[in-house]
Symmetry: D2
Subunit: 306 residues, 4 copies
């Protein structure tokens, strides 16, 4: 039985984490903290958890998280790095659902996230929690950097191709589409139903924070720096990410369908669909599954990964 704490549980990652932990037979939730909602029952904020979670949010100042085996940070960027050092010293392992420990190059992180890093000494040892790449290291990590949403989708789709050198790593294109919950439970005008509903648009084309994270992972896989164009879009749906990836095929003799099937044969969270498929986001809703389909339209030199 693992004793787990959660820092900041009022956003969408927090509630989803709670939903999973609440039904996990090997986890005991020690505390869930929120400065703003301290004292408030969790189920009052998230009615879907009524009857599943009896806890209240607790005041961070009065919560001894160092009694936990494991602490999750379901917080905005910049919080986990403030508290990581003390927890690690107390022997607590941490999983940051935000971005604080995802980028190995601290100065690059500071540029994209616009703040100095408060705990650079833990960045190097932090394990990037993509099980399809770092499964063994994850099992023993003290600091786990949970991958971003777009980076998970884009890396899983490109990995078999760049690892095998099948496509030109200098001209990767990732056209990604996200449901609105991806932006978090922030009260921004553009996330209102009356703004995001019945509408479609790209955003962040000049540069999005997930770009360096994706590039880092793919460069590692390619063994060289990759050239990536990444364009995110906002879809009028609540949940789900769809990435449409384009690569220029260098090795036309490779059977791409077989390549993907082999790469993910033993991966329980990746499902390679039969040839000719088009995955829909709904089919993986509320699961931790990524469904992938591979195409080479008209047998040309462009591979399309969905």
């Amino acid at each position: 039985m693992i004793t787990a704490g959660i820092v900041g549980g009022t956003g969408y990652t927090g509630i989803e984490l709670l939903r999973l932990l609440a039904q996990h037979p090997e986890v005991h939730i020690h505390a869930i903290t929120s400065r703003k909602e301290a004292g408030q029952p969790v189920a009052a904020l998230f009615p879907s958890l009524r009857g599943h979670i009896d806890m209240a949010f607790s005041d961070p100042a009065q919560t001894s998280l160092d009694q936990c085996d494991l602490v999750f940070f379901a917080t905005p960027n910049g919080i986990a790095m403030e508290q990581a050092r003390n927890l690690i010293q107390a022997g607590v392992r941490i999983i940051d659902l935000a971005a604080d420990f995802r980028i190995k190059d601290v100065s690059l992180w500071e540029k994209w996230y616009g703040m100095p890093h408060a705990c650079p000494e833990l960045v190097a040892e932090a394990v990037y929690g993509l099980p399809e790449v770092h499964r063994n290291a994850i099992a023993s990590a003290r600091v786990l950097a949970n991958p971003g949403c777009y980076p998970t989708a884009v890396q899983l789709g490109f990995l078999p191709l760049v690892e095998a050198g099948v496509i030109d790593p200098n001209h990767l294109i990732a056209d990604a589409k996200s449901g609105v919950s991806g932006a978090g439970r922030k009260t921004e005008t553009q996330l209102l139903f009356a703004e995001a509903g019945d509408n479609f648009k790209a955003y962040g084309v000049p540069g999005h924070r997930h770009l360096p994270e994706i590039s880092q992972g793919l460069s590692q896989a390619a063994g060289q720096a990759v050239g990536l164009t990444f364009v995110p879009h906002l879809v009028p749906m609540i949940r789900g990410i769809h990435a449409t990836l384009y690569g220029q095929v260098l090795r036309t003799e490779v059977d791409i369908q077989a390549l993907f099937e082999a790469r993910y044969a033993n991966e329980p969270f990746v499902d390679v669909l039969p040839p000719g498929s088009h995955p829909d986001t709904r089919s993986v809703r509320a699961s931790n599954l990524c469904r992938i389909a591979v195409h080479r339209p008209q047998g040309g030199d462009t591979v399309v990964v969905l």
Copy 2:
């Protein structure tokens, strides 16, 4: 040609007003003010108006609205009443899209809106801008109180019945459903796409500000105080209101379909549908039309107005 000013044009009533005025052949827009957006082109905030409106928002402090023939307030409740006196004295007519002048009983207004009224002396002369009831007075009004969204729907549906004494005025039930834009362009968590989408709920059942406004209008029409239960709901759509109204029939000999057709025969903004119809909100989207259908299910003593 009417010279019009707009105070506060950054919400949904403001942009809709702009859309209508921009194509109105008899209106010249003198200024549109916004403290927060002063200097910003209107079309930068509302891209759909690019090419239709060339103006920028102007600073209220530097805008001489007293040169207008008419000033619209597309502001939150409580703003129009602060500025009405001076404009009226300068000979400017005003139309308040908010609630400041809708309720004749000032103390009742103050109770529901939670603030003292800043201009009670103009409340009595203010005309409630429902043309199906006050068309002539509207034409000459100095202060026009634009009806609320729910009040428009509920009153138009009940008016023929209570005016003619066909239903019991003590047990009126209005089950109303609104699109999310009805709440305005406010950044509240419950209005987020990821909260309001794929969801349905009632709200404000213990009491909603539109209740006294509706009761005032229907009591006037009935010639006695009415008893009204009003339950609003939030629909995962952007625009539109659907009111489902229930009344107990007192005069079973009345042909209710004919009653509605006669009442609204000369009203250009009300369309009484043929017997057996079910209006859908989409069919009046972006128009100022109200479509009404009347039913007496199984010929019983309950009339249902849609």
Copy 3:
């Protein structure tokens, strides 16, 4: 371990049933039949079941359902009654998700469903599967009539009030709102995204098949025939039902909140919310829970159940 068969599993009730049975530790699925999809893997039709269900749809003509302990009918109205007699004679218990055995008055059923009943002799013994009313009988039933969607929502909301004689049974009003999946997986124009999306409307006001089913249940509970006005509406959401119920209070001394809490104290599928609540459909999505809130607006004589 129960061996279960499913007749017709290509609609929304079928897939939901499969989702539940596939993870049920005490159920073995023997077969799922579909004339149209025979031979097709279930997961090809419903990708969300890939990895959870390995079966293919089987041809009804070649499937021996009499080897099952239990057969579910996830079929259109009129199918279960054709096959019930033989299965019952073979010792198989049946659960009809459609309407064939819901109405005790066979001629009433025939009037609303527009066909002669093929198995009237089993109607009397069929148990109406609302556990909050018939739990014990359900446990031993040979023929179980699964309640309709609207009838479940409306009955659960009215039951405590009519059982206790708290409201006038002659003037019950049920204003119900359903997600689009409630209509089934039929290809009707009005169910298209481009028709049902961003739209709201009532339908079936002159008469809906669920009216006699609701009336039957409430009349039983009231000990007298009830007078019910039932107006269903189509909401632009996928799943969920919200019923807003109105009743005229006869016994004003009764604490309605306490009445509901007592009535459903031991019911695991009904959750009575604290006073002042407004349940949202999302909070029960994909569960078999019904959340209820009770109001008496302004302390008047109308009770509102959500």
Copy 4:
């Protein structure tokens, strides 16, 4: 005054055409035909047109379309080509909203549309109705082929770049996203609200009928055959198309923003947005405007057109 006829007006192109013609001061609608709905008032099918169109659908067999100056075909593919010859001989001009006259290579058309062409002799003279390319020819055309939805979006976005030789024409990528109404008013399961709602997916990746149409237009503009990868997606919104286009820049010295502004300076239906913009589909809803933004992320060699 132009006398216009409409063949087949019960789909989404038909109703939109009717909406535009009904308010056009220079058009008289002579007849709108529908075999299936003959005799039915147009407004009964499309309630939003109540009060704007008083006509009924007429039986094609009894409608003398040869009295029209102009006949629109708002029909499925394959209908206009059957009737074009006779109408042209009668001196009537035709505009086909479907695909019959869009592709100059008749055998290519027959391959993608799966039927023999019934009127190949008019294909050559047919004018492809994209005003930004063929404005003058449109004005005098006898047969006008209205461009497809995706082709309009993709061509307008790529045209300035391929005309000026700024990007590599061999590796064009068009990632396009369409609202559900783009599929027409067909009752297909995948277009149901409960299927298309809260979901996102690609479709037709192996090959979509709009591919040859786009390639034809871009090849003409480039003066050579282009290599295009075209991936359409279905967005859970009703209307609107968003194309995200990717090209590899060959001439890095060209100011792409200036190029687009110059190309479309006099085009009333194309609005080039300021640098750094992201157009949203909502801002052009129900208009015939195409808004375009141009990006070169991180100053690299990939141009992104939205």
